[in-house]
Amino acid sequence: MSKSYAYIIDDDEAICDALTWQFRTRGIECMSWSSAEDFLREWRPDWCGCIVLDIRLKGMNGLACFDILLENHCLLPVIFITSHGDIQMAVGTLKKGAFDFVEKPFNYNELADRVLAAFEADAERRRALTDRDTVEQRLATLTGREREVMGLILEGRYNKVIANQLAISMRTVEAHRSHIFNKMHVRSAVELAQLLAVLKKD
């Protein structure tokens, strides 16, 4: 498993530098980018750690960057750093699944502490991915119908096709899908496949 990093994206060079220095004193390795575009170009799905993302950026802003990461099933926890006026936006990101937000200027080691917590959460998630028992426990909570739907999802079928095949409505398929994801603690079909791959290894 690769090493955890804090991926800092802020258009202010001084802030990137200061955070890198501060994080290092807490034993956190850092990488920094001055724009969301540069970060997205280099980002790889197997990266570990957490993303520290400024909401106000030149070019693509932090919110748009977060949306793209979600679309690409990025599983890294994201901590937003915000200015005073952006609290509303920041709360919105929490609803979408951001890990946390911290307001500028930061309180002593506040941000570093949040980054370490995010590292923990990320590691936890990855451990679950490789832990056979956990996966089996989660699978056991699924109902028969849900298993059936999950099989079809893993085959890459669309909701509409599944609904036709099982002679149920689209809405019901959608409900099943969200129950499955919740019970299996995943956010996408890709993650679900990764999770189940653990079982097939042996």
Binding site: D12, A14, I15, A18, W21, Q22, I81, S83, F106, N109
Partner: protein, 463 residues
């Protein structure tokens, strides 16, 4: 509206005047005809008599018959002439009656009133529309004389008289004035009067004719539009200020964030006991750079604020007070506040930026007016006084409002501190900044009889 109404009247009157001419002409003709008829009768009877004597009786009956026939024709002709005469008389009468009804209808349906008065200012004529507008009857108004005009607002009488005198002085010139009037039921209204000299048919100037229009609605609409504009201006200023403050806050946040992170890192190192002096020194330099960056942002804001350099000139404070009072007049009227000026004559000149000091005066007056919103109507008086104190010209603005409680007093000049619902809390803060810029003093005290007095002392020239 006078010229407009005169043209149709002229059109109706035109045929009637030519009817008069025809009638006169026919009258002459009638006399002529009667004379001719008499001549014919005399001639024919003389002819018959002479012939009868010349040729004995044998031709006599023939001639007599001839004369009778001639006479008959003459009578028929005369009757026809009489009928023509009568018809033309009737025409003239109809035309006259039409002209009269037209004029009556014109007066009755016009929304604007007419009022005429003689050279002494006695009302000689009022149109029905004018009576409707004021609520007084024709009889109540006719004969009324300056200055006892029933529809004059007693508070405005002085001004109205002034207007009347001005009108008399620029003789034979029409002019329009806006005056405050009062209906019979006491309701005030605003009217526009277009006064023009009243010239009679013989070309003599016998008085003044006023066309009066009720403009209360228009005036209110105009005032509302003005208020709307002022509110808009205030909002846009507020938005600009808010934006500036927000931009500044964001910009300052950046170096502060960097500094706090550097410091936190240093503390972490020190606490962990891993002190690398060279590294710490480098970080301290970085912190210093961020501090300079923050200072740069602040000095940029300062430069922006300083762009409005004061423009000093030597002026009379009293004239400035009068201007400010005129500016605030509408505001005061709306809240039924009476402004009393007690200005000391011969006040020394002050060297000030007129716009800035006027801003202070208007702000203080507006505050005073706003403070009296709960004061009983008869006590709503704002007093503005000027006097000399040593080498200072002093301006005092006193209200009879709710006064200033001690806990408010300590925050009175703080920015963003306000007791008004819609206030920004910048007014007094700006006032004091301006006063300091002029090396003047802005102070306040509570009046013993309630309310507050703000005092602005400005350094004056002493020769």
């Amino acid at each position: 509206m006078l010229p407009a109404s005169s043209s149709p009247a002229a059109r109706t009157l035109a045929p009637s005047s030519s009817g008069f001419a025809r009638a006169r002409w026919s009258g002459w003709r009638l006399y002529l005809l009667l004379a001719q008829l008499a001549v014919v009768i005399l001639l024919s009877s003389w002819l018959a008599a002479s012939i009868a004597t010349a040729y004995e009786a044998s031709w006599f009956p023939v001639l007599l018959v001839g004369v009778v026939i001639v006479l008959g024709f003459a009578i028929i002709w005369g009757v026809m002439q009489m009928r023509r005469q009568l018809a033309s008389h009737l025409n003239v009468e109809t035309a006259l009656r039409q002209a009269a009804t037209f004029q009556q209808a014109l007066e009755a349906s016009s929304a604007g009133g007419l009022r005429a008065r003689d050279q002494d200012g006695r009302i000689t004529y009022v149109s029905p529309a004018f009576c409707r507008m004021t609520g007084f009857s024709n009889e109540e108004l006719l004969g009324a004389r300056f200055p006892d005009i029933p529809y004059w607002d007693s508070l405005q009488a002085g001004r109205n008289l002034e207007t009347f005198n001005r009108l008399r002085s620029n003789n034979n010139q029409s002019c329009s004035v806006e005056v405050a009037m009062r209906r019979k039921n006491g309701q005030p209204f605003d009217a526009l009067i277009i006064e023009s000299p009243f010239i009679d048919a013989s070309g003599q100037h016998i008085g003044w004719l006023g066309a009066v229009v009720d403009i209360t609605e228009q005036k209110r609409a105009r005032e509302q539009a003005q208020q709307q504009y002022e509110r808009l201006q205030a909002t846009s200023r507020l938005v600009t200020m808010g934006e500036m403050a927000s931009t500044m806050a964001h910009e300052l946040n950046q170096p502060l964030t960097a500094i706090s992170s550097y410091v936190a890192g240093c503390l972490n190192q020190i606490e962990a006991g891993q002190i690398d002096a060279a590294e710490l020194k480098e970080i301290q330099h970085k912190i210093a750079r961020q501090t300079q960056r923050a200072a740069g942002i602040i000095s940029r804001v300062h430069a922006f604020v300083r762009r409005t350099e004061p423009n000093f000139s030597s002026v009379d404070l009293n004239s400035l007070v009068r201007e400010a009072a005129a500016l605030i007049e509408t505001n005061a009227q709306r809240q039924q506040v009476r402004i009393v000026c007690e200005l000391e004559e011969g006040l020394p000149q002050v060297t000030i930026d007129t716009q800035m000091i006027e801003q202070i005066i208007v702000n203080l007056m507006r505050n005073g007016i706003d403070a009296m919103c709960d004061t009983p109507l008869e006590n709503r008086v704002l007093t503005i006084a000027t006097h000399t104190r040593g080498n200072h010209a002093v301006l005092r603005v006193s209200d009879r409002g709710c006064g200033i409680s001690p806990d408010i007093a300590s925050h009175l000049f703080d920015p963003f501190f306000t007791t008004k619902g819609k206030g920004m809390g910048m007014g007094l803060n700006i006032c004091r900044t301006i006063a300091e810029l002029h090396h003047g003093q802005l102070t306040f005290e509570s009046n013993p009889s309630g309310g507050a007095t703000f005092t602005l002392a400005l350094y004056a020239h002493t020769e």
